[in-house]
C-alpha cells in the first residue's frame, strides 16, 4: 500500500536535514520509540511499541538511510517485526526550502504489512498512519520553533550534530532535559520510524494467507 503526506517545518532546510538524521532526537520524539541503536553508517536497530487501534505490540527492526542527497532527498528502508505482525517499507523523503525559515517535507511510503496488524483494513491503517505522522511532525515542529524541549541521550550523552552516530551507541527515551539545538535533528528517521511503527501499515498483508 502507498501512503503519502507532507509537513511544513519552521526551520531552514539545512537545519531540518541535519536534525532529521539525529537518532538521539528521534528516540524521544517518535511515538512509542523505546530504544534506538546505531549499527553502522546510516543504519539503526530499534524497538518501537506501536498500536493500531486495539492491536498493540512491540516491534524490533532496522532502519537504513540510502540515496542521501543532502539537503534534497533520501530513502529509508525499514523492516520490523513483532507480535502483531511485520512491516516493510521504502520511504522516499524530499525536502524543499520554501524560504529561509520554513522547509516542506514530503514523504511517500510503499509498505507491506503482514500479520494481525495487516488484517485490520487498509483504510484504517492509512488513517492511523496519517494521523501519527501528523502528530509526529507537529511535535517536531514544536521543538524546532522552541515550543517544546529537546532530547537527551542515554547516560546524558549529547550527540554531535550529523548523521553518523558511533556504532553501538544506544539511545533510549529518558526524561526530557536537553535543549533545542540538539533536538532539531533526526526528523527524517523519525518520520520513517513513525511509518515503521504505524504509518507504513498495509494493504498487501491482507493478502497473506
Amino acid at each position: 500500500m502507498r501512503i503519502a503526506g507532507d509537513a511544513v517545518l519552521h526551520a531552514p532546510v539545512g537545519e531540518v536535514w541535519d536534525a532529521l538524521l539525529d537518532p538521539a532526537i528521534l528516540v524521544r520524539t517518535i511515538p512509542g520509540c523505546e530504544r534506538l541503536e546505531s549499527t553502522g553508517e546510516h543504519t539503526y536497530a530499534m524497538t518501537v511499541t506501536a498500536g493500531v487501534a486495539s492491536i498493540t505490540g512491540t516491534y524490533a527492526g532496522t532502519v537504513e538511510l540510502r540515496d542521501l542527497d543532502r539537503p534534497r532527498s533520501l530513502t529509508m528502508r525499514i523492516a520490523a517485526s513483532g507480535a502483531p505482525g511485520t512491516i516493510g517499507a521504502d520511504v522516499n523523503v524530499t525536502f524543499s526550502g520554501d524560504d529561509d525559515h520554513t522547509t516542506r517535507l514530503a514523504y511517500e511510503a510503499d509498505a507491506v504489512v503482514g500479520g494481525t496488524v495487516g488484517g485490520v483494513g487498509q483504510r484504517m491503517l492509512t488513517s492511523v498512519g496519517r494521523r501519527r505522522a501528523g502528530e509526529f511532525f507537529t511535535a517536531v515542529d514544536d521543538v524546532l520553533t522552541g515550543q517544546a524541549p529537546a532530547a537527551a541521550v542515554d547516560g546524558g550523552r549529547t550527540p554531535s550534530s550529523g548523521t553518523d552516530s558511533e556504532v553501538g551507541t544506544v539511545f533510549t527515551a529518558p526524561a526530557r532535559t536537553t535543549g533545542r539545538d540538539d533536538f532539531s535533528k533526526g526528523l527524517v528517521v523519525g518520520g520513517g520510524l513513525v511509518l515503521l511503527g504505524v504509518v507504513a501499515g498495509a494493504v498487501a498483508s491482507r493478502r497473506r494467507r
Partner: protein, 802 residues
C-alpha cells in the same frame, strides 16, 4: 411390537430446552469473540464518494475496519446469484461491501471489528461516509414508470420477463359468455424471525480450518459459499447451525455479506469474530417479500366455470436478485390452486427498486397467487349471484384426475404435476367445520344486533418437498443408542422429534434412545436446506431409508448370531428376537458390537457379545462389500415436488364506526398426507395462520418516497400479538398420501400462511359489500374504502357481459 410412533402427537423433545431458556443460539456462543458491526447506507440510492475512518480511531477497543478496498479475489466479486434462470437476463447481486454505489437503505458499506459490540457500534457511528445521493426508485409504480433507474445498465428496471401458457387463454376469454377484469395488489412484508441473523467464526491458525456457526436455513450452502469466497477447500470449512429462532425463508439466502466477512475477519485477525444482527438491521438489510401488482382477465360460463384466465403481474424484487425468480415463478404457477381453468396464460415482470432484496418468505409467492385466484373466483360468484363454494366446486380438479398436469413448468424446473389430493372432500370438510350453511342465520342475528359480520374462504395447493435431495445417516452405537444426522437445518420445526419418531418406528427402538442432529456439516456434509416445506418429506424420507438399511444389516447379523432365519426376527424395544420365542434374543447394542470385528473387549457390551459367533470363517472378518459398524446412509431424491393442499374459512366482524376488523372464527382443513406428528403439524398451522393474519391485517413495509423504511422497529411494524390471533384455530385434517415418497407424506410448514390474506379479504368483502382488492388492510384503509364507496367511487373490477 413396539407402539407405532408415526402419527402420535407426542410432545416435542426440543421444547424441554427451548421453553426453559436452555436453547443455544449463535449469540449464546463465542463469549471470547470480537464483535463485528456494520456501517450501513442511510441512502436508498447513492454513489459513495469517500469513506473517512479517522474519527473512529479514537474508540477504545477498535480492532479493524473493512471497506470494499480490503476485499480481494472472489470476495471482491459480487455475491453469488444463487438460482440463475434464462429469463433473468439482468440479474444483479450486491458486493459483500458496497463498491462505489449503494442501492438500498441498509446496504453494507463498511464493517468494524472491536472488542465488544458497544465499541464496534461507537466506531460505526464515527465513520464518515460521503455520499452523492441519486434518485430513488421506490415501489412498483415508480419501478414501472422507470423515470429513474436502480441500475444504470438495466433498462426499464426490468430484471426479468417471463410468461407461461397452457392453451389459448386470450381466445377462451374472448369467446366466453362472461368476462371480468380485476386489479389486485399485495404489499411488502417480511419474515421477521425473532432471532435475527448471526454468525460466529473461528479460524484455527494451526490446523488452517474455519469453523462457522450461522443462524441459517442451509449450513451446507453457507459452507460452500465461504469456501468459494475465501479461497478455502470445502474440507477446511465446517458450518454448524445451532438453535435458530425462526427462519421463515429469510435465512435461506446465503451468503449474507456478514456470513463471508465474519470468517474473513476471523482469519485476518487470528481471533474469533461474531456478528449479531439487531432488529433495525434486520428490517433494512435482510430480505422482504410479497409486493406484487396483478391484472386479471377471466372468462367464464353461466356456471362459473373458468374458460380462460390471463394474469399479468409485476413483482418488486428489491435492489438485487440473489434468489433469482423463485418467488414470481411460484406465484405464476401456484396461483392455480385446486382449479383447472380451460386455458391459462401468465406473464410477469420482475422489477428493481431501491429497497431491501426480496427472497422467499414462508408461502413464497403463494399468498399472492392464492389472493389473486380466490379473489377472482369470488368475483365470478358475486357476478353470477352464485354461492362461492359452488363456483369453487365447479372448477376443482377432481381426485380421479390425479396426477394432474397443468402444462406448466414449476419453480424447480419440473412439470407442474399434482400428485394427489381430494379437493372436493377438503372443501366439504371445511364447509361442515365452519358451518357454511348456517352462516346466513348467524349474519341475520348479528345484523339484528347492529353488528356487521362476513365469511370468507381461501383454497390453495402447495408444492412441497422440492428436490434435489436430502440424506440421512443412522448409526446404532454399542450402547444401543441411535445417532441420527441429516444435513438440513432446524429453525424450531420439531425435526428432532419427528425424525426420531420415524427412526424409532423403522428400527423398533425406544424414542428416548434416538438422538437427532441437524445442520452440522461435520455430521452430514451433503444437504440442500430447510425451505419450501421440504424437511419432513426430504430428510424424513432419507432418514427412513437409512434406518431401513441399518435394520436390514442388524437383522442379518442377528440372524447369524442367533442361528435363525432373518425372516423370523423382529425388533422390539431395541432387542432383536425371534417372533414368538422372546428368549432367543440379542440387543441391538450387542449387534453393533458384532458388526465391528475388533479384537478388543473394552466394555461390557463387547464382553457380552463374545457369547455370539458371527461371520463365515472362510471369509475375511469384513467380507467384500460389507463395512464395519451398524450404520446406514441413504438419500431421497424425488423427481418432482409433492403437492399438499388446504382450505381456510374465516368469520370476521367489522366495526360499523371504527372499521376495526376482528376475527371471530378461523377454520382450517389441511391435507399434508399422513402426519408423522399431528401436534407438530397443528403447531405449524397455528404459526402460519398467525403470520398470515399479521400479513393480512397489520404488517407492511412503510417506505417513504426516498426509500427510507419508516417503520423499522417493533414499535411501528405491527407484528400481531397472541391477542390478535383467534384463541382457537379450528383444524380438521384430510390425509391423502402421496405415492412419491416412502412415508407418503407432504410438507406442512408454509400451509397456514398461504390463503390467509385471501380468506380475510373475502370475509371483509362479505361483511362490507364492496370488493377488497388490496391487502393488507388496516381499519384506516377500510374506513377510507367505505367513504369512497359511499361516494360511489367504485373499485377496480370491470365486467363485460355478452
Amino acid at each position: 411390537m413396539t407402539t407405532r410412533l408415526f402419527g402420535e402427537p407426542i410432545r416435542r423433545v426440543e421444547d424441554e430446552r427451548l421453553l426453559r431458556g436452555d436453547g443455544q443460539y449463535v449469540d449464546d456462543l463465542g463469549s471470547d469473540a470480537l464483535h463485528l458491526a456494520v456501517v450501513r447506507s442511510p441512502h436508498a440510492h447513492a454513489r459513495i464518494v469517500d469513506i473517512d475512518v479517522d474519527a473512529a480511531l479514537d474508540v477504545d477497543g477498535l480492532v479493524a475496519i473493512y471497506t470494499y478496498d480490503d476485499l480481494t479475489g472472489p470476495l471482491a466479486e459480487p455475491l453469488p446469484l444463487l438460482i440463475p434462470h434464462p429469463n433473468l437476463t439482468q440479474g444483479r447481486t450486491q458486493y459483500a461491501l458496497a463498491k462505489d454505489e449503494v442501492n438500498h437503505v441498509g446496504e453494507a458499506v463498511a464493517m468494524v471489528v472491536a472488542t465488544d459490540r458497544y465499541a464496534a457500534e461507537d466506531a460505526v457511528d464515527r465513520i464518515d461516509v460521503t455520499y452523492e445521493p441519486l434518485p430513488a426508485v421506490v415501489g412498483l409504480d415508480a419501478a414501472r414508470r422507470a423515470e429513474h433507474l436502480v441500475h444504470d445498465d438495466v433498462p426499464g428496471n426490468v430484471a426479468a420477463r417471463m410468461g407461461q401458457s397452457n392453451g389459448d387463454a386470450a381466445s377462451a376469454i374472448a369467446s366466453a359468455p362472461h368476462r371480468l377484469s380485476l386489479d389486485l395488489q399485495i404489499e411488502r412484508s417480511a419474515s421477521t424471525p425473532l432471532e435475527g441473523r448471526g454468525v460466529l467464526a473461528r479460524w484455527d491458525t494451526e490446523a488452517h480450518r474455519m469453523r462457522v456457526w450461522s443462524s441459517t436455513q442451509t449450513s451446507t450452502g453457507v459452507r460452500a459459499a465461504i469456501a468459494a469466497k475465501l479461497g478455502l477447500d470445502l474440507g477446511q470449512v465446517d458450518v454448524m447451525t445451532p438453535d435458530v429462532g425462526g427462519g421463515f425463508g429469510v435465512k435461506i439466502v446465503h451468503p449474507w455479506p456478514e456470513e463471508v466477512m465474519v470468517p474473513f475477519a476471523a482469519r485476518a485477525l487470528g481471533r474469533p469474530v461474531k456478528f449479531t444482527e439487531d432488529r433495525r438491521e434486520h428490517f433494512v438489510s435482510a430480505a422482504h417479500e410479497r409486493a406484487q401488482q396483478h391484472h386479471v382477465e377471466v372468462g367464464f360460463d353461466d356456471d362459473g366455470r373458468i374458460l380462460g384466465l390471463a394474469v399479468r403481474f409485476w413483482h418488486d424484487n428489491g435492489a438485487y436478485t440473489p434468489y433469482g425468480l423463485i418467488v414470481p415463478i411460484i406465484s405464476s404457477t401456484q396461483l392455480l390452486g385446486p382449479y383447472k381453468p380451460g386455458a391459462y396464460t401468465v406473464e410477469f415482470e420482475s422489477l428493481y427498486t431501491n429497497t431491501v432484496i426480496v427472497t422467499p418468505y414462508r408461502g413464497a409467492g403463494r399468498p399472492q397467487g392464492a389472493f389473486v385466484m380466490e379473489r377472482t373466483v369470488d368475483a365470478i360468484a358475486r357476478y353470477l349471484g352464485k354461492d362461492r363454494i359452488e363456483v369453487r366446486e365447479t372448477n376443482f380438479i377432481q381426485p380421479q384426475e390425479m396426477p394432474y398436469d397443468h402444462g406448466l413448468v414449476f419453480q424447480d424446473g419440473k412439470p407442474l404435476i399434482y400428485d394427489s389430493g381430494d379437493f372436493p372432500a377438503t372443501l366439504d370438510k371445511l364447509k361442515k367445520l365452519v358451518g357454511w350453511e348456517e352462516f346466513e342465520s348467524f349474519r341475520a342475528q348479528a345484523r339484528a344486533e347492529g353488528r356487521r359480520v362476513g365469511i370468507g374462504l381461501g383454497c390453495y395447493v402447495e408444492g412441497t418437498g422440492v428436490g434435489p435431495y436430502e440424506g440421512g445417516h443412522v448409526q446404532i452405537e454399542t450402547s444401543g443408542k441411535v445417532k441420527v444426522a441429516t444435513g438440513l437445518t432446524s429453525q424450531g420445526q420439531g425435526h428432532q422429534t419427528v425424525f426420531a419418531q420415524v427412526v424409532a418406528d423403522e428400527l423398533g427402538v425406544p424414542i428416548e434412545d434416538v438422538e437427532v442432529v441437524t445442520g452440522d456439516t461435520r455430521r452430514f456434509p451433503y444437504a440442500v436446506g430447510t425451505f419450501a416445506s421440504r424437511a419432513a418429506v426430504m430428510s424424513g424420507s432419507a432418514i427412513a431409508l437409512a434406518a431401513r438399511k441399518v435394520r436390514a444389516k442388524a437383522l442379518h447379523i442377528a440372524a447369524d448370531a442367533l442361528e435363525v432365519d432373518e425372516a423370523d426376527l423382529e425388533i422390539v424395544d431395541g432387542v432383536v428376537q425371534v417372533r414368538g420365542a422372546s428368549k432367543n434374543q440379542i440387543a441391538l447394542g450387542t449387534v453393533a458390537v458384532l458388526s465391528n470385528p475388533l479384537r478388543y473387549a473394552f466394555d461390557r457390551a463387547s464382553v457380552a457379545a463374545t457369547q455370539f459367533a458371527v461371520g463365515d470363517p472362510t471369509q475375511p472378518p469384513v467380507p467384500e462389500g460389507q463395512e464395519p459398524g451398524l450404520e446406514g446412509r441413504d438419500y431421497y431424491s424425488p423427481n418432482q415436488s409433492t403437492f399438499a393442499n388446504g382450505m381456510h374459512a374465516v368469520v370476521v366482524e367489522t366495526d360499523p364506526d371504527t372499521a376495526e376488523i376482528s376475527i371471530l372464527r378461523y377454520c382450517v382443513v389441511h391435507d399434508c398426507g399422513p402426519m408423522i406428528n399431528p401436534r407438530v403439524v397443528e403447531g405449524q398451522i397455528h404459526g402460519g395462520v398467525a403470520q398470515g393474519v399479521g400479513g393480512a391485517l397489520y404488517e407492511r413495509m412503510a417506505y417513504d418516497e426516498h426509500g427510507q423504511l419508516v417503520n423499522a422497529s417493533f414499535m411501528d411494524f405491527l407484528m400481531p400479538y397472541v391477542t390478535e390471533i383467534p384463541d382457537t384455530i379450528e383444524i380438521d385434517h384430510l390425509e391423502t398420501p402421496t405415492p412419491l415418497n416412502p412415508l407418503g407424506i407432504k410438507g406442512a410448514g408454509e400451509a397456514g400462511v398461504i390463503p390467509t390474506a385471501a380468506a380475510l379479504a373475502a370475509a371483509i368483502e362479505d361483511a362490507e359489500g364492496f370488493p377488497i382488492t388490496r391487502m393488507p388492510i388496516s381499519p384506516s384503509d377500510l374506513f377510507e374504502l367505505r367513504r369512497l364507496h359511499a361516494q360511489g367511487d367504485a373499485g377496480s373490477e370491470r365486467s363485460d357481459d355478452r
